[in-house]
């Protein structure tokens, strides 16, 4: 979207989040861990939108919540606007909460049904003690107008609104404190396609107006392409590919990305029929016991022995395009020779044994 490249706003270094699974009634023992986010490093530049894509259970929402410290990290470091926020206490976090906001997926569950719109949107202002009653009301009404509702909606209850309008209320609430970073966690997945477009356009408009940085979480690559500058694809807690948005669609390197792309329905019968569709078998494996080697190998159509044993590192293929795969697609020999290759991971050799085919046809 915007190209105001003002350096990183948020840096995540080796972020890990495990959730313990406990058994026992009186004496609780930890019997296992859910590896929700496993060693994720990335940077988000000011004014950019980072798309975070993956199937349910891949850890994308958990990562989003780690970013705003709704969860404490198991390990790793988070640097927001030059400040290390990894281990700030609740009290220390408070002033930062203004700058980190989140828009949730379910517009029905994320608004308190007993509160009026005015007090929902005004709550952040009240909590942070901004302005007096009159100022706050004025501000809330302005916000409602900004997100395409009318100031008269101030005294209504959430049930009086449709899904799309509720999502607008959620956006207004997130904007109330003029945040720097907004995590949009599947903001349109629960909406009709026609309403999705309205909400996406709204998010784009206010990004320019308020100079926001977004992390846009979704499972649909079609929507993500539309809003993102860069896209990170997650699978079972790991980032498996990260790339500038258009590049990811033109030449996906990781077979998982290829499969995600081909799963997006295309509203054109002839093209849809002509397209090769890669239907992934089965579901995402359990994050309690992730598969060995490359976590995607049980569902990957290119998988070979090396994939079951050795975990592929994220390799930089140039132009800010990183991917973790032993059998990279759409990579020519020169690039393969250029990328740093250690002994355990040698995509150049692996490439000959398993010829990657052209990805699903796209006319872009």
């Amino acid at each position: 979207m915007s190209s105001t490249n003002g350096g990183p706003l948020l840096q995540a270094e080796h972020v890990v989040k495990y959730f313990p699974i406990k058994r026992g009634v009186l004496i609780q023992r930890e019997v296992a861990q859910v590896h929700a986010v496993d060693d994720v490093s990335l940077e988000i530049n000011k004014g950019d939108t980072l798309g975070l894509v993956g199937e349910s259970g891949c850890g994308k929402s958990t990562l989003g919540r780690c970013f705003v410290r709704l969860y404490d990290l198991t390990s790793g470091r988070l640097i927001f606007d030059g400040q290390d926020i990894t281990s700030l206490s609740r009290r220390e976090l408070r002033p930062l909460r203004r700058e980190l906001q989140i828009v949730f997926q379910d517009p029905y569950a994320s608004l308190n049904p007993r509160k009026r719109v005015g007090s929902i949107v005004g709550a952040p202002l009240e909590i942070h003690g901004i302005g007096d009653r009159k100022d706050r009301k004025k501000r809330v009404q302005e916000l409602l107008e900004k997100v395409g509702l009318s100031p008269e909606h101030y005294n209504r209850f959430p049930h009086e609104f449709s899904g799309g309008q509720r999502q607008r209320i959620g956006v207004a609430r997130a904007l109330a404190l003029q945040p720097k970073l907004v995590i949009a966690d599947e903001p349109v997945s629960a909406l009709d396609v026609s309403i999705q477009a309205q909400v996406i356009n709204l998010l784009e408009d206010i990004q320019d107006e308020f100079d926001l940085t977004y992390v846009f979480i979704a499972h649909d690559l079609g929507v993500v392409r539309h809003v993102s500058d860069r896209i990170a694809v997650m699978y079972l807690g790991k980032i498996v590919e990260i790339s500038p948005a258009e590049e990811l669609y033109e030449r996906p390197i990781m077979p998982y990305t290829e499969a995600l792309l081909s799963a997006v329905p295309i509203p054109d019968p002839r093209e849809s029929a002509a397209r090769e569709r890669i239907v992934l078998e089965g579901d995402v494996p359990s994050p309690i016991n992730p598969p060995s080697g490359c976590r995607f190998h049980p569902r990957c159509r290119y998988a070979t022995d090396v994939c079951t044993q050795i975990e592929p590192p994220l390799v930089d293929y140039g132009n800010g395009h990183l991917a973790a795969c032993h059998h990279p697609l759409n990579v020519d020999k020169e690039t393969l020779a250029r990328v740093s290759v250690d002994q355990a991971h040698s995509p150049a050799q692996a490439d000959d044994s398993a010829k990657p085919v052209q990805p699903a046809q796209r006319s872009s």
Binding site: Q198, V264, P267, D268, P269
Partner: protein
């Protein structure tokens, strides 16, 4: 053409509420032929679910008012007794729903639920029902069906639960399968799996499918014919090619424009349909879509457009614009950018 499998004639469903009468379905007529996949597309509240639930006679709300005829294989389902209707449901027409978790009973194993349905409609010997249930689970692509049959619904993932629902629906070889947003709650990857499965079932079993969805992308691949519904009416009807390559109704254009498409260069802005669907109690004067339509003119306010065949070839639409007018304005409405560069 052969006698249709299902013919709905001037179906009206309204609900009495405190605020007035909600006309959820306002006089729709359509047919489904044997082995055909019909896509029913529209926003939430357009009446697509209510109309298909009425076909199954599943609307039990005492405040519901019905009118019209639902002819299935020559019989009017509207006049059937409760018992006769029970025989039709499951045996002749089966339905799958959007949320597979709430449509399965959480306290019984999936095997029990499939066997119950088999026993209800067939005279089976002990053990036969179970064998058939395992077979069905295998057919819908559940790995190790002989083990999974004794699992409870919560032990399945969303996509797997939807497969169980499809197995249930298929258990009595219905001639018509009604799928109400079967993939909306699922990931795109799992959506692709389920659509692939429905396609295979149509091929292998020859069942007709009525697929309800809000996403035109979903039906592009799978449907033969498409009905576009808006505010309780059908506003456009045609075969797949007609709807996608020569759409006539501005609402259909809006639906097409609002999809973030992967097969086209990235649009600067998505073409959203402004505003909200109208209240079904106080409908707008004239055309229902007028308040949101960028091309509305005087006649749209004065006169309610009828669903007629203006283009020819069985392509119906309810819009006052002339065919030439529509073709001229269409591309700029669906994708202003693309039209400019062309």
């Amino acid at each position: 053409m052969a006698e249709p499998l299902l013919e709905v004639r001037d179906l009206k469903v309204s609900f009495r509420t405190e605020d007035g009468i909600v006309r959820a379905v306002d006089g729709i007529s359509f047919t489904v032929h044997e082995g055909e996949v019909v896509g029913i597309v529209g926003e939430s509240g357009s009446g697509k679910s209510v109309s298909m639930m009425s076909v199954m006679r599943l609307i039990t709300d005492p405040n519901a008012i019905y009118a019209g005829e639902i002819i299935y294989k020559g019989r009017n389902l509207m006049g059937l007794s409760r018992d006769a209707m029970r025989q039709v449901r499951g045996q002749e027409i089966a339905m799958i729903f959007q949320d597979p978790m709430t449509s399965l009973n959480p306290v019984y194993t999936v095997g029990w639920q499939i066997e119950e349905q088999l026993n209800e409609h067939n005279d089976l010997q002990k053990g036969q029902a179970r064998r058939r249930a395992v077979e069905l689970l295998g057919q819908v692509g559940i790995p190790k069906p002989e083990e999974r049959i004794d699992d409870y619904p919560h032990q399945f993932s969303g996509g797997m639960r939807q497969r169980v629902m499809i197995a249930l629906a298929l258990s009595c070889n219905p001639d018509l399968l009604i799928a109400d947003e079967p993939t909306t709650a699922l990931d795109v990857t799992i959506q692709a799996q389920i659509l692939e499965l429905i396609k295979r079932l149509k091929r292998d079993f020859g069942s007709a499918v009525a697929l309800i969805t809000h996403d035109l992308g979903v039906v592009a691949d799978i449907a033969d014919r498409i009905l576009v519904m808006y505010a309780g009416r059908i506003v456009e009807e045609g075969d797949k090619e007609q709807i996608f390559y020569d759409p006539q109704h501005p609402y259909t254009w809006g639906l097409l424009g609002s999809i973030a498409r992967l097969d086209r260069p990235k649009a600067q802005r998505l073409t959203a349909i402004d505003g909200q669907p109208p209240s079904l109690i106080h409908r707008p004067q004239g055309c229902n879509f007028r308040p949101r339509c960028p091309h509305a003119f005087d006649r749209c306010r004065a006169e309610d457009p009828a669903l007629t065949d203006k283009v020819g070839g069985g392509h119906l639409d309810a819009c006052h614009l002339s065919v030439d007018d529509k073709r001229a304005k269409r591309d700029a409405t669906i994708n202003p950018q693309l039209a400019e560069s062309a």
